[in-house]
Amino acid sequence: MSQVFHDIEKKILETLQKVPNQTPEQLSTNTELSIDQIRRGIEWLRLKDLAIVAESQKVTFSLGPNGLDSLKNGLPERKLINMLKDEPKTFDQIRSALSGAGFNVAIANAKKNGWIKIEKNNSESLVSIKEKPIETPEEKLLSFIGEKTILQEQISNPLAMKILLSRPNYIIETSEKTKTISLTDAALSLDTSASSSGAIDVEADVPSIFAARTHPLQDTIDEIREIFVNLGFSEILGNMTQSSFWNFDALFTPQDHPARELQDTFYLENLESKNPATSSQIKNVSSSHNKNWKYDWKLSESQKMVLRTHTTCVTIKHLAEQKPENARIFSLGRVFRNEKVSYKHLVEFNQIEGIVIGNNTTLRDLMGIQKEFYKKLGLTKIKFWPTFFPYTEPSLQTMVYNEKLGKWIELFGMGIFRPEVTKPLGIDKPVLAWGGGIERIAMLKYELDDVREFYNNNLSWLRSA
């Protein structure tokens, strides 16, 4: 791999190849890059194992207010000696000349240095010079520092510094962390001119951005709709709120059937449909129920409004109203069940349902349409099992083999509308019907095992699905 360097990296590399071990500030001055650019560049080089960042502590000293005063006028003990040059003095005399704390400090240090002797005379203490006071290491250090800032490394007498540091406000000590940047052996021998100017690290990671998109479930719905259209089916729409007449009675579901109970079906509070169907439709459906199910059919029961439990109510209503001779139609939309929501069940999901009336309406044709439908979805290993639906006879279900799960899964159901459904509505020909839930297919497609995910609108999933 030929390495590509950003211009910042290149400048830093070149400078350090000339002068190793520089601080970021020095690098900034030498490369004319901002300190921020330098920091970024160092980080990039470090990640590429080209730069070494050594952190160290930098300690400096300068004189505080007392130190500066002493630089000009001498340390208190020196001031004392100067006072005693001509004659000894009493404590009181010295005290009045060296104000405040200066007295104690001056006496103590002069005594420690062996410069003075103190004699007691009556009640007076008399101070006189003992021997010639030479310049102390502290005084030498004071004048060495002067008005400059000195690095710790430059101090030749650390003991004197320690003494000065112990005296308040003589020395200001500052310490700061510094980084020293040096190059690794590999970097020292790099020829940066070999990488062409303007090239960038094309392999580096970049931040993620997310595409705006339609909902994955909507994509599956659209895909399935497209297949129905390709199979010659035309789409019809219908309401999600339906009278019980079209949702149940017209589909031969007796009024005392368990599926019609509150615990399975959503009834709308205080809402009913005054005229759910034409009077002849009502009359015929009612007598079919009375005759076949042997009970007393009630109009009031059929007027109750429900959230449709299937899309079949839409297709059967269309058939009853339009009475087409030859048609393939489908209805797609939300259906509702009063269930506890779980990873397997939703109260509201999408269903598609197609019907065929007219030519080629045998059970074999119905199976043929299914087979073709699944083929278009990429599902080729299918079989049919008998099953039971209240309004179709015969009734079949499709089993589709899922390679990933290693088992047969139940998908769409199908059947031929019972004559007890079609005859009262004036439909004489056989009607094929087939369909099922779309979420099940979408779950296989997106490899989800919790159906609720489709309606959570969890952005991290929507952005990555």
Partner: protein, 547 residues
């Protein structure tokens, strides 16, 4: 769908004819039975509510024998008129539970597994065709503990007897309050002063239908003769139930003696077969296979029906317990099952129609495409939502609320009249995700009408710190202009708690209000715990881009 737990070895024994485990597992689905799970020799089978006879291994074995070709045709149920078994119906039951029917099953034996299955079958019958015991209910008794004749009559609520599984006498009222069955099914007899009861000739209580049997007549593995009684609101429904139990007990090896029933519109059950004569051409046309009538007869027999060819027609004999068979279409299904669904070859006929999407679908899709082009992610929310999200957190007017009854889920109780609240809820659940967040949804909203109007709305929402009214207005106008060339205006509107004061407007197209737009109020955002700026709009597409 009901589920039954069975042992595969028991089924093999009942089917006989040396069938293998695999043969049974392979054929079960073609009887319309789903194998739900399989653990060792225990299998769980889901059966359809129209075939209650499949709730025991006896019924399933009878079906399997047919499809496997081991035994075909009807099993006849001879009813002997021997013995002096009878039940007299008193007119007092007319108003509360008018019908009783029954039979004596004799000279048989049930093991514990069979008794357990029968009890489960009884419960499934009660739940299904019995409509939670309201329409009909069943009781099995050890007939040898009973002195005939019986009387079906009513008693007052302080009548006492020892109920099934009880140890002391309890009054009717105590049974209704203290037992599970009493609590679950007490409502069936409502507040009737007197309740149904069956006494024997010694005035022993045999049964308190539809609640509980007497402890006296409990069926055990020592029982040889069984009284089956069914009471109900409908004579036919009661006989339906009886016929299923009879078919099962017959397979279990019992014989049957008549129970004479007299009084008050009641009569002795005949359990007669039904005869249906029909044109075999119909079946060929429905299945799509040319099949000879004699071939069809074989198929019907495999489904444990009897049939014969008479001229051009088929005469089919249907046993009483197959009350799911209404018409020739049902026989066609039986023929298909007998033929074997796996043997029917799918056929793809070319379509003679041209498929077409609905205009509403096409135009809604165009809107979605523009929204995606403008950088929006599509959200999908339920139409059934909660009062909390729809009205309380958004402080919207709830006077036209549309509720469903008895929802099992708190989050799904109200039909939405707007899409924005759910989108805000979506933002609220994604506050840890990166911003900007831009969502749109198209979907049905509901309002009270005749009785309910449904229309399709579009809502858009933008959330990030620098978003503004100008941004959302620009998005809204662009959406309507693209493809549809609709020019829209925004007009100052009266205060609306969803939006910030002075930062919202009504959307007008051709002088008609079609929606609302604005910056979401900070109090509302606080309710949703959203800590950034949010703007949004919602418009009604119905009436604007389609009818």
């Amino acid at each position: 769908m009901p589920v039954v737990e069975l042992n595969i070895n028991r089924i093999r024994k009942l089917v006989s004819g040396n069938v293998t485990r695999k043969q049974i597992l392979d054929v079960l689905p073609f009887l319309g039975l789903d194998i739900e799970s399989e653990e060792g020799d225990e299998i769980r089978i889901e059966y359809s509510p129209n075939r209650p006879d499949y709730s025991t291994d006896y019924g399933i074995a009878t079906g399997l024998q047919g499809l496997l070709g081991i035994k075909k045709g009807i099993q006849k149920t001879p009813i002997r008129k021997k013995g002096n078994y009878s039940i007299k119906v008193d007119s007092t039951v007319t108003k509360i539970r008018p019908y009783v029917t029954g039979i004596i099953a004799s000279n048989g034996k049930l093991d514990d597994v069979a008794i357990k299955q029968l009890m489960n079958m009884q419960e499934d019958l009660h739940a299904g065709i019995g409509r939670k015991r309201k329409k009909s209910s069943i009781g099995l008794h050890d007939a040898d503990k009973i002195s005939f004749p019986l009387t079906y009559t009513t008693v007052s609520r302080d009548h006492k007897f020892i109920p099934l599984n009880g140890s002391t006498e309890q009054t009717i009222n105590e049974i209704l309050t203290n037992t599970d069955v009493g609590q679950n099914y007490g409502s069936v007899i409502e507040n009737a002063k007197n309740v149904p009861i069956i006494f024997d000739s010694d005035q022993n209580t045999i049964s308190f239908p539809p609640i509980i049997n007497s402890g006296l007549t409990t069926v055990t593995s020592n029982t040889k003769n069984i009284l089956i009684e069914v009471t109900g609101m409908d004579k036919e429904a009661a006989e339906d139930m009886l016929s299923v139990v009879v078919s099962i007990l017959q397979t279990a090896g019992f014989e049957f003696n008549e129970l004479k029933i007299t009084g008050n519109k009641n009569s002795t059950p005949q359990l007669k077969e039904k005869t249906m004569i029909y044109d075999p051409k119909f079946t060929s046309e429905i299945i799509g296979i040319e099949m000879s009538p004699s071939n069809m007869v074989t198929c019907l027999k495999k489904c444990r029906l009897d049939a014969s060819v008479k001229g051009k027609k088929i005469t089919c004999i249907i046993p009483r317990y197959r009350f799911d068979i209404f018409s020739p279409m049902d026989l066609t299904e039986e023929i298909a099952l007998g033929y074997g669904i796996a043997n029917i070859e799918p056929k793809l006929s070319p379509s003679t129609t041209i498929g077409q999407k609905n205009d509403v679908t096409i135009k809604t899709k165009l809107i979605s495409q523009t929204a995606v082009g403008l950088g929006f992610l599509e959200a999908m929310n339920s139409s059934l939502t909660s009062k909390k999200v729809l009205y309380e957190m958004t402080k919207r007017d709830s006077s036209q609320i549309i509720s469903v009854l008895d929802s099992k889920s708190q989050e799904h109780t109200i039909l939405r009249d707007s899409l924005l609240p759910s989108l805000l809820d979506n933002l609220s659940k994604n506050i840890h995700e990166s911003y900007p967040q831009k969502l749109f949804e198209t979907g049905v909203v509901f309002s009270k009408g005749k009785p309910i109007d449904e229309s399709i709305n579009l809502a858009i929402i933008i959330a990030y710190k620098d978003t503004s009214y100008s941004e959302i207005k620009a998005i809204m106008q662009s959406l309507l202009r693209t493809n549809f060339k609709i020019n829209s205006e925004t007009k100052t509107s009266k205060n609306n708690e969803l939006f910030s004061k002075g930062r919202h407007a009504d959307i007008f197209v051709n002088e008609k209000k079609v929606g609302e737009i604005g910056e979401i109020d900070s109090n509302i955002l606080e309710n949703f715990r959203i800590r950034t700026s949010v703007v949004g709009f919602e418009i009604k597409l119905s009436g604007l881009i389609f009818d």
